[in-house]
């Protein structure tokens, strides 16, 4: 028991000691003078940030597609490739939408790679059984590709307007995980990974090639949560992959939680009395204007009380394009429950400075208090031994975020 506990403390202590996230890290330079992180600041003028875009790109419209459009439009982004993974939709259908979107946007030069068609272990049938056995547990019962009415992995339905037809582009033959490995190794320290879907592709990549982990300056992921709910789709679609990827010792792993994403919605106003989507539809060039017209304004016309989705993937894009939009972040330990029970896919967080928790809570830290953290017979308040240390975004400048989104959607379509 003692040996184990000692090992436990040692492991956690080592994780803290080797952490490259400074405790007071802020995206645009925390007041305490934290060390600048690779990739955490916008690249120097003229330099483009290299990005692998890993996404469950569900069409025709929605947070996945809008994240894609932002990354396609941003001038400071060098999109090395798009890797797809089953999540919000099945892989093949996502591929059809993605290839055609690139064609419509005139960006056929961006290679697209198919990744994992299934989660590591989760299955549609078991998920449905779990919901019945343990009860539904969130107000947002999205099951993505596992939705009851979803046709299955091989069904590809025709693409609606403005897509209209399948692309003449084709996917690359290489598996997404191998593309990730190859690209990161060829550009050590330079490739940021946008992780907008379940983490299956990244889990495969680091299982095959653990050496790439320290070479990635930043992974930006949307998933997990604190208050809105703790089991976000991108994790509970593939909890084993989430657990594996979040635990890896990335130099920097930034999380857009459900809580922060829920602060801004696509239907919000950009100026008093004016909705962002109306302004975009009015000012954007096609095909972006067409997409907003058909899939945002038209549904709103039919249902004026329509509740628009939170801006989840758009925040990943914002963190990569201009991280100074986020005004507060904190290093935290995170772990994912992969026990296939009622908490399958839940996220759990611990403050990185858990050892100073009594101080952090305002009370004096007495000698007796300190013993709590090293004496195995006392309470233990830290993370489990293999928890990952991540950078959690906590505050976003709403106006600047909406302005960035609006500008990217309405600027002239970026050519190549």
């Amino acid at each position: 028991m003692t040996a184990t506990r000692r090992e436990f403390i040692k492991t956690v202590g080592a994780a803290i000691a080797s952490s490259q996230i400074s405790p007071t890290h802020g995206p645009d330079g925390a007041p305490t003078g934290s060390v600048p992180q690779p990739g955490s600041a916008p690249p120097p003028a003229g330099a483009r940030r290299k990005v692998i875009y890993d996404q469950d790109n569900s069409g025709p419209f929605g947070t996945d597609m809008l994240g894609t459009l932002m990354m396609l439009q941003a001038d400071n982004i060098d999109l090395l490739g798009i890797t797809l993974v089953t999540g919000d939709a099945w892989l093949k259908q996502e591929m059809a939408f993605t290839l055609r979107l690139l064609e419509m946007m005139g960006r056929a030069e961006i290679p697209v790679y198919a990744g994992a068609e299934f989660p590591m272990l989760n299955t549609k049938e078991e998920w449905q059984l779990r919901l019945q056995l343990y009860g539904g547990h969130r107000a947002d019962p999205w099951m993505g590709a596992f939705n009851r009415d979803n046709g299955g992995p091989d069904l590809i339905t025709p693409l609606p307007p403005p897509y209209d037809r399948f692309a003449s582009l084709t996917a690359q033959p290489e598996h997404a995980a191998r593309f990730i490995i190859k690209t990161v190794r060829e550009n050590p320290g330079q490739v940021t990974i946008y992780a907008g879907g379940p983490l299956t592709n990244l889990a495969l990549a680091i299982a095959l090639a653990p050496d790439i982990v320290p070479m990635v300056p930043e992974v930006v992921f949307m998933g997990t949560g604190f208050h809105v709910f703790t089991n976000a789709f991108n994790i509970f679609f593939d909890p084993e992959a989430g657990r594996k990827v979040l635990r890896a010792p990335w130099p920097k792993f930034t999380i857009v939680s459900v809580d922060i994403a829920e602060q801004v919605h696509e239907g919000d106003e950009i100026a008093p009395g004016t909705r962002m989507i109306q302004q975009i539809a009015a000012h954007a060039e096609s095909p972006i204007a067409d997409l907003f017209q058909r899939y945002a304004l038209e549904p709103l016309r039919q249902d004026p009380n329509l509740r628009f989705f939170r801006m989840a993937d758009e925040m990943i894009a914002a963190q990569i394009i201009d991280p100074s939009i986020f005004t507060k972040s904190a290093p935290m330990y995170v772990d994912i429950c992969s026990t296939p029970g009622p908490r399958y896919g839940d996220s759990m967080f611990w403050p990185a400075n858990w050892q100073n928790a009594p101080e952090a809570s305002g009370g004096a830290l007495s000698a007796a208090d300190r013993r709590v953290f090293v004496d195995p017979r006392q309470f233990y308040m830290g993370p489990p031994p293999a928890a990952g240390l991540v950078n959690v975004l906590l505050e976003v400048d709403h106006d600047r975020f909406k302005r960035l989104f609006f500008d990217l959607m309405t600027k002239p379509i970026r050519k190549t």
Partner: protein, 394 residues
């Protein structure tokens, strides 16, 4: 659904045509995936059997962290090939860690829930306290003597498995003697290999002795992905069956030491005969990997099999890595039989064939024959080795 009970007498189950060594003299194509513990163990002995068997085409050896860390295993595998004069067999290093399990968690589960297994099953492989770490490679004792001059291939084991099965559809047997991390990765990257794999042979799981075995509980998620994949044929040797024969039984070790014509003599003398003489009460290990090798070399050594469903528990608690079995014909078990009235398997359980009816006499004969056969190219290899500088490399 074809099940063991609907087949006739056990004799009718002996070596279905597709299982027999090819009558035309063709060799059985084999990928050998192993947590290759050195200097001598059930893993290593099985490697020796497969190297010595005439009817096996050993396409490659894959290593995986389990009994030892993959780097150390790879060092042993490469040098074993060298001293056996078989440097042409390529070695691919595979997963250095399980998909999710970690040493700290494995040890804490033991402390919290207790070891759930019996005797020497209370075993964590390289996750034991003295198991070293991922990048630590210890020197190899004689007869290995030094690190090999041959190197592992640059390709990861999972990629080699995918490429090889695709290039030889319906022909490749995969021997999984360790945790199934490499196979799980291969299936996740390329689900198309599953229906074109001839057979997977795995040792792990059990029903009576204990329900946990290290090859499963070392990487429970990997095992779950692999057993659920839907292989045309997935053959399992349980710990129950493996426990029927031990390496020291019936003077096998002394016979091998006296009659082998190769480094096998020294391996068995140093690492089995001497320890046993120093400690006559020593419990020599069961022969799980040797039985897998025997099944691959000559399946008729087993009288038959039970068709069953299997699934793996991945709850991160005292049952992590447990195997659950259900009869393949559970719905047809009549009134009054011992297991009638049972419910069916879990939704996604895999279908497996549990070998049974080991012919101990023939197993012993096969084993002794393979261990004592001359190693044809040993002379050439030693000559080459002696003319090169003794440079220790990793």
């Amino acid at each position: 659904m074809q099940t063991s009970s609907t087949l006739l007498a056990p004799s009718a189950m002996v070596s279905p045509p597709t299982e027999a060594p090819s009558p035309r003299g063709g060799k059985r194509k084999l990928i050998y995936d192993q947590d290759h513990r050195g200097p001598l163990s059930t893993d290593t002995v099985a490697t020796l059997m497969l190297l010595q068997a005439d009817n096996i085409d050993l396409l490659g050896i894959c290593t995986v962290t389990g009994d030892m860390w993959a780097k150390q295993e790879t060092a042993y595998a490469l040098r074993l090939l060298e001293i056996m004069g078989r440097s042409e067999v390529p070695v691919y290093m595979g997963a250095q860690e399980p998909l999710l399990n970690t040493k700290a968690e494995a040890q804490m589960r033991y402390h919290m829930f207790g070891s759930r297994t019996l005797g020497n099953e209370g075993y964590l492989g390289c996750f034991a306290n003295d198991g070293g770490n991922r990048d630590q490679v210890e020197a190899l004792p004689p007869p290995y003597g030094r690190f090999a001059q041959i190197h592992a291939q640059p390709e990861p084991a999972a990629d080699f498995i995918i490429r090889t099965i695709r290039a030889n559809p319906y022909e490749v047997t995969v021997y999984c003697g360790g945790p199934m991390t490499n196979l799980a990765l291969a299936v996740m990257l390329a689900p198309d290999i599953v229906p074109i794999t001839k057979e997977v042979v795995f040792m792990g799981g059990s029903m009576h002795r204990s329900t946990s075995s290290v090859n499963v509980y070392f990487d429970a998620e990997g095992a779950k992905i692999a057993v659920r994949a839907g292989w045309p044929k997935f053959t399992l040797i349980t710990a129950d069956l493996a426990e029927e024969v031990h390496l020291q039984d019936d003077g096998k070790v002394d016979y091998v030491v006296a009659h082998a014509h190769s480094p096998i003599t020294e391996l068995f003398r140093n690492f089995e005969q001497k320890p046993q003489r120093a400690n006559p009460g020593r419990h020599s290990f069961r022969m799980p990997d040797e039985m897998m090798a025997a099944h691959v070399i000559d399946p008729s050594i087993f009288a038959g099999f039970d068709e069953m469903y299997v699934d793996i528990v991945t709850h991160n608690d005292g049952h992590y890595g447990d195997t659950s079995f259900w009869d393949g014909n559970w719905s047809q078990l009549g009134e009054g039989t011992a297991r009638s009235g049972q419910n069916g398997p879990s939704l996604k359980a895999g279908r497996v064939q549990l070998l049974k009816g080991l012919d101990k006499k023939r197993f012993r004969e096969l084993f002794l024959d393979l261990m004592t056969r001359p190693v044809p190219r040993i002379g050439i290899q030693e000559k080459v080795a002696s003319t090169t500088t003794r440079k220790e490399t990793r």
